[in-house]
């Protein structure tokens, strides 16, 4: 899959921008709220099992989550709730900026439920971001791509609870699809596949309920990498308009670079 791989400074910038995790509805967070089919909800077999699980859900610090999820895994290794406990562990590691721990916990969560969108939406962008910071990124890019494609298929299988309005669900779904396409764009640009990256970023923008400056910034950089300076400038200017300030700053720097290159020619 790796074609013409060039890891330019621009590519690093594309990946380095933090993905904004869209807030999903409650049913993506846990299995305890309204569900489309409560009969299929994972069940605790004992009160003690649920006590510890609820403690994980209500722990105030990531350190407590890690301690309690470890205890949960060792005391209840067959628990139907273990996958979600690992999901909480993954978020705790993320809060502590522990990438390896986050990935390990997230992958355990996916073993229990391969369509766990909350986990996929956390791992895919994190891995795409991380790929720009390591030397041998092929594996990470491959996994980020795999998870992004899993998001796109899993989101089609979700049956939201009736309490979630159709409008809210459609916005949430488009947000998740947008994020998956953004990951695919980052993966493509890191592989030097600029035309694919442009397409993916365009799709991400078209699906986003509220397109973000960072998305236009990525699209602008993809155009710049593909040598399409006018389109690059147009989208970078849009990014600068939308902001926020860090994106605006980066976009203006990239616009200046484009102008300098043009004048030097």
């Amino acid at each position: 899959m790796v074609q013409n791989r060039r890891r330019s400074g621009s590519c690093r910038l594309v990946a380095g921008l933090v993905f904004v995790l869209l807030c999903g509805p409650a049913f993506l967070e846990a299995q305890l709220g309204p569900l489309s089919n409560p009969a299929r909800a994972p069940q605790a077999k004992s009160q003690k099992e649920l006590d510890l699980y609820l403690k994980i859900l209500t722990d105030a610090t990531p350190q407590s989550v890690l301690k309690d999820s470890d205890a949960f895994a060792s005391q209840f290794p067959e628990s139907e709730l273990l996958g979600i406990a690992y999901q909480y562990e993954m978020h705790a590691f993320k809060d502590m900026d522990n990438f390896e721990g986050m990935v390990t916990a997230g992958q355990k969560a996916l073993l229990a439920n391969p369509d766990n969108l909350n986990t996929l939406l956390t791992l895919a962008p994190a891995m795409a971001n991380r790929a720009s910071q390591v030397k041998n990124a092929d594996k990470l890019l491959g996994q980020a791509e795999e998870y992004a494609r899993l998001i796109l298929s899993a989101v089609e299988k979700v049956k939201p609870p009736l309490q979630t309005s159709l409008e809210k669900w459609e916005a949430t779904k488009r947000g998740m699809q947008s994020q998956a396409h953004e990951v695919l764009g980052v993966v493509a640009i890191d592989r030097g596949q600029y035309a694919i990256a442009i397409d993916q970023f365009k799709t991400a923008i078209s699906l986003a309920p509220t397109p973000m400056g960072s998305q236009y910034f990525r699209l602008g950089l993809a155009f710049a990498a593909a040598g399409e300076r006018d389109s690059a400038k147009e989208h970078l200017l849009h990014a600068a308009e939308l902001g926020p300030q860090p994106v605006r700053k980066l976009a203006l720097v990239e616009i200046n670079k484009l102008m300098e290159k043009k004048s030097s020619k």
Binding site: P38, A39, Q43, A44, L54
Partner: protein, 300 residues
């Protein structure tokens, strides 16, 4: 849980000999519960638990308040504290069971309801909740019927159990028996002047083909006593349709759709009504909405 009422008046006793710090504090808590002031009750009970972490009653009331405030995780945690402090009453197990139900934890829910029944064999509510679980979650009408029957034998005037038993009998193809239970539920509601429409709706559903004029009276009554419940307007629309009163049927179906926009059944009825009224564009729009809802939410 559907058709679940707030804590009934006979719940307003602490489930164990009062351990709450003072008679005044207990009196205040009971007064807050009597007036459904759950936020204040939760704050008050929480304060007592902080001052006295061994007060099982305070944890119990904190759990009750949180359950009423739709905070089932906090409810379970408070009720488990009460249990761990030695409380072992039917009411505790029943409330804890309800909190587990709200968390979709049905194994634990059933354990607690069975324990509540064991400790107080005359308490009808565990049977009512177990029946509700069987019909709502398991779609097991026969088992649900057995639980509701136990509940109505223990508490012959509980309208919710009577209504649910009628519903199970209707689903079991026993309309005559169902009608008798709906009628008992209606008498019970009317005697206590409670604003609930379910038994009227059940009766309208039962009579819609057999006696639509009588069904109309029951459907109107259901929509009058519970005007914010979409299913009451749905049944009223269906009865009007059966009687050939299209404008009235459309009005009620639109009301039902505005109250429950994701219910595919309402959209399909609107499609049929618009089609019969010759409004093809509106009919197609409702048919599209129906198909979309079926795809997004699946079967209801």
């Amino acid at each position: 849980m559907k058709a679940q009422s707030p804590v009934s008046f006979d719940d307003l006793n602490s489930p164990s000999a009062s351990k709450i710090a003072s008679e005044d504090a207990l009196s205040e808590i009971l007064d807050l519960a009597r007036h459904n002031r759950w936020n204040e009750l939760a704050a008050s009970a929480e304060q007592i638990t902080r001052q006295n972490p061994n007060d099982a009653d305070a944890f119990y009331w904190l759990g009750v308040a949180r359950l009423e405030l739709h905070k089932p995780i906090g409810a379970v945690q408070a009720l488990r504290s009460a249990q761990n402090l030695g409380m072992d009453s039917s009411k505790l197990h029943e409330t804890l069971g309800r909190a587990y139900y709200d968390l979709n934890q049905f194994i634990l829910f059933q354990q607690q309801m069975k324990e509540a029944s064991r400790l107080d064999p005359l308490n009808f509510r565990p049977n009512y909740f177990l029946g509700l679980y069987q019909i709502t979650i398991r779609s097991d009408v026969a088992t649900a019927l057995a639980f509701f029957d136990k509940a109505t034998k223990l508490q012959p005037d509980d309208w919710k159990s009577l209504y649910q038993e009628g519903r199970c009998l209707e689903l079991s193809g026993k309309p005559g028996e169902a009608r008798a239970y709906y009628a008992r539920a209606i008498r019970s509601i009317e005697a206590s002047n409670q604003p609930f429409g379910w038994p009227f709706q059940g009766m309208a559903h039962l009579l819609i083909n057999q006696d639509p004029e009588q069904a109309l009276n029951f459907a109107k009554k259901a929509a009058t006593v519970e005007p914010n419940e979409y299913s009451n307007h749905l049944i009223l629309a269906q009865v009007y349709e059966r009687l050939g009163k299209l404008p009235e049927a459309l009005r009620e179906a639109k009301l039902a759709a505005s109250q429950s926009p994701n219910t595919a059944q309402v959209r399909y009825l609107l499609f049929m009504l618009y089609r019969r009224a010759g409004k093809n564009q509106a009919a197609q729009s409702e048919l599209s909405a129906f198909k979309k809802l079926k795809i997004v939410y699946g079967s209801e």
